[in-house]
């Protein structure tokens, strides 16, 4: 990483807590929520960035994992509230750590068969198959009345974290922000590791990777599953932020949004997802108030990025990536 990229990254990391703290002191809780939203979307995109940025796998179905994570939070909390077991006599829970664990494991479990099938294809077929799987889960959620169907599922209160009052915006922001940092650290270590080297080689030249004895399929499958797990964790956090989960978290719009975040921020850049999420949420906030057609302007920005700044915001601020 260049010195300039490091500076940009440090500033970006400090941005969210600075906003949240300022908001806390001037008593504007709304901005804490905004910062939390950015952090959660960034974490979801960090997950996708493993598949898309490192592996070159354009998954158009990551909303499946984002939504699944959200439903884990909603369903477990509902069962705990109603004191009904979820399945096999296992109780629900309102403890975030337990919810996160279930969300991560379930998303990994679901990503495995999806990856096994879709990674046999590539390019536009891969995009379509991941989309198809996500749509199946979306329609399943819509047509399953037990958990609200189309209307979604409300959480009567935010789930808890031992020792913190998560009902208040600031402590919840801290929880989310720490998880985002953990996600970024994981991405950083992963990219520099042996696995990361193999995954990036699978993106650059799968025939070469196979010729030295590493199966590109196996490497991509592991990456896809890891990627889904992190995005699923972000989904659980998102449900708790909104105290609401609905099929819209599973929809293809959401998958597209996650891809947009990465392209905006700079794909395969450590802080691309965070930069992209910040830009996206600011746009939504600043322009969404002015016009319902704010996505039109987002489209223009996206066009500008694709034509003039392939490296996204990070590329614009910090220059081209360095490779060892």
């Amino acid at each position: 990483m260049g010195a300039r990229e490091t500076t940009v990254n440090v500033l970006l990391v400090l941005l969210l807590p600075a906003v949240a703290l300022t908001a806390l002191f001037i008593g504007e809780a709304f901005y804490i929520t905004l910062a939390t939203r950015i952090a959660i979307l960034a974490l979801a995109a960090v997950g996708l960035n493993i598949a898309l940025g490192l592996g070159g796998l354009v998954s158009f179905g990551h909303a499946a994992f984002f939504g699944l994570g959200g439903y884990v939070a909603g369903v477990l909390a509902t069962h705990a509230f109603n004191m009904e077991p979820v399945a096999f006599g296992l109780p629900g829970t309102t403890a975030m750590p337990a919810i996160w664990l279930v969300a991560i494991l379930l998303c990994g479990l679901v990503a495995l068969p999806i990856g096994l099938v879709s990674l046999r294809t590539s390019g536009v077929y891969f995009i379509m198959i991941t989309l198809a799987f996500a749509q199946m889960i979306y329609y399943f959620a819509i047509s399953w009345p037990a958990y609200g169907g189309e209307d979604g599922l409300s959480l009567s209160m935010r789930n808890g974290f031992p020792g913190l009052n998560t009902a208040k915006p600031f402590p919840y922001f801290v929880v989310v922000f720490v998880l985002l940092l953990a996600g970024l650290l994981l991405f950083h270590r992963l990219r520099a590791s042996r696995f990361g080297a193999a995954l990036e080689a699978a993106r650059q030249n799968p025939a070469r990777l196979a010729a030295i004895g590493i199966s590109p399929f196996a490497i991509r499958l592991v990456a896809f599953v890891l990627s889904a797990m992190i995005t699923g964790l972000a989904g659980a956090l998102f449900a708790d932020l909104n105290r609401f989960v609905s099929p819209s978290m599973l929809s293809w719009h959401m998958s597209g949004e996650l891809i947009v975040l990465i392209i905006l921020g700079g794909k395969n850049r450590l802080f691309g997802p965070l930069a992209g999420a910040a830009l996206y949420v600011l746009f939504e906030y600043a322009l969404g108030g002015l016009t319902e057609r704010w996505q039109l302007f987002l489209g223009l920005v996206l066009l500008a990025v694709v034509f003039f700044a392939r490296g996204g915001l990070i590329g614009l601020l910090a220059g081209r990536p360095r490779h060892g």
Partner: protein
Amino acid sequence: MVEPVLDVKGLEKSFGALKATNGASLDLRPGEIHALIGPNGAGKSTLINQISGALAPDAGSIRFLGTDITMLDTARRARMGLARTFQISSLAQEFSALRNVMLAVQARQGTSLRFFRPVASDVSLTEPAMRMLSRVGLADRANVPAAALSHGERRQLEIAVALAMEPKAFLLDEPMAGMGPEGSKALTGFLDGLRREAPILLVEHDMDAVFALADRVSVLVYGRIIATGSVSEIRNDPEVRRAYLGEPA
């Protein structure tokens, strides 16, 4: 007789109406350089691709170290010790020369599912990789991205990557192509010594190199092996002279 390292029998491969491999059989014995020559489009690369696993043959069998590998995928064959280079250099373009070789070292160690330790400071990867780069004379270019290497340097890097696999057999597809006379001479000397480490199936158009190196030569024409023998046998084979060396009968 010694068991061949590699034993190819009756391979067939068609691309539509074109029979690119037409009942080709050959073997590779311990310690030898077996050259595979033939005119452009004869099917040499197609044969290498079937042996390495990049293409599935329509018929025939491939045995390697006494095991039938016809149904195994490329990565499995490579892990068994089959290293190939590509006629058109095929590397991880964004990675430096060193990281390209390090990747082959980690593949050899079977340690690609390690997620945390950074490779850049990992001497169990950098040290052997650096050694391989030195052997092919690329040590001073270790940190240059593959995409920025010259054509000849990329050819050398292909060899360094193959060396790092510590293979039981080499499949080299025109390693001299575009190397220039100096480079070809140096590489000829290098391959001469390399056969002691593992036998080489060498596809090459450079006849000086072939005649200097080969223990045996096979001639491939229209997907068919028309002759196999020592250098002098091949040079004096009338059919070879007619079909390939371009002399009137």
